[in-house]
Symmetry: none
Subunit: 197 residues, 2 copies
DNA sequence: ATCTATTTTCCAACATAATGGATTTTTTAC
DNA sequence: GTAAAAAATCCATTATGTTGGAAAATAGAT
């Protein structure tokens, strides 16, 4: 199975460096962090893999969060990415609307960073897909490949025919409806606002 | 001595939410992350405190780092945009391959922040779209809607039939070819790796 | 060099992380 | 409604995380 996971960062040397920078002994850091000096020694030497709670308490006693700890660690090797990954149609994950009138095939990779996801939507005649607000700043882009679809977002309402694209906010209640008497097919891209901290 | 450490965040509900958002069962996430489904269930219910390595692998399989898990949804200013923007099919920008055998309709907004772009591709029989390497880290995702398409990337070569999706590096020479004797239709998503300068 | 103090590592015991497989619960199909 | 399939939780086991205190190593003073 192809893995896209980066290797686990080695944090021991970084922790020892931080401790030395602050001129702390293992005993002192143990008192500050609530982690035993034995455990600290093992972590620094890479001989133990701390639990999340232990690591949290440890970084907090340095006055930092875990990601600040990780920023100073050497990168692991680049993951080996399979050259061409094939997802056959019958193994493509699907979701269905509550009343079954709309089937979504999830085309984006499941491990995608949550900036951009995309789906193929198939609506029965009269089919509806209603959604609650997504995260603030989220927008959707709907391109109709067959049939027509009515888009509702934030009180506005518009129809898109084959070949057309609608872009609208998805951080409010929104809905997609097939008003016609034949099946509709569409591509939906869900795009989250970037660069926001 | 009073401790200034913030209490350890509860991550179980957040992990379950993320899993549900991606429509994954515990079994599927276990396969993706390398963490047992028993352990995933315990983490989600707050019954176990994962080690750093376990949590790292888990967050990586969601395509995020640990701090993103801790942060929740990014916040930012409300976008000030037209409610529903319509781009009719006849006004959708197009590009054509040099020999005219492939027509691309640009479905993503032209002002996109170049992290994610998407196109509808239409190939004549025997049609070819060859591309030079994009920026480092760029990947492409091709879903075939009709016919079949052969994908070439970095010396690898694979065929995708209707309904299937191929994911491959686009930071090297790559090409898409319609080997059949009828028209092929596909969706192409070009995704640039974030955080790479 | 020796002696003392400090710091780190070792050790054994206990607690729990993590697992594979069984069982229970929930969902789906009819 | 029932039966089957899928998903989640339970259970027993193994491995390891974590500890307090002892032993070893290192640093500092003379």
């Amino acid at each position: 199975m192809p893995t896209k996971r980066k290797s686990v960062p080695q944090i021991g040397d970084r922790i020892r460096d931080l401790r030395k920078e602050k001129s702390l002994t293992l005993d002192q850091l143990a008192a500050l962090s609530g982690v035993s000096k034995s455990m600290l020694s093992q972590i620094e030497r890479g001989q133990a893999n701390p639990t999340f709670a232990t690591l949290w308490n440890l970084t907090q006693s340095f006055g930092m969060d875990i990601h600040e700890l990780l920023e100073g660690t050497p990168r692991g090797p680049e993951p080996d990415v399979v050259r061409i990954e094939l997802v056959p149609g019958n193994l493509t994950p699907t979701m269905t609307s509550p009343d079954g009138s709309c089937v979504m095939r999830i085309l984006s990779p499941v491990e995608n960073a949550a900036v951009c996801e995309w789906y193929e939507l198939r609506f029965e005649p009269g089919g509806v897909l209603r959604s609650a607000p997504h995260a603030r700043g989220t927008r959707e882009h709907l391109t109709v490949l067959a049939g027509s679809i009515t888009v509702e977002s934030a009180g506005a309402r518009d129809s898109v025919i084959t070949g057309g694209t609608a872009r609208y906010p998805a951080d409010c209640d929104h809905a997609l409806i097939n008003p016609g008497d034949c099946e509709a097919l569409a591509l939906l891209v869900v795009e989250r606002l970037q660069g926001v901290q």
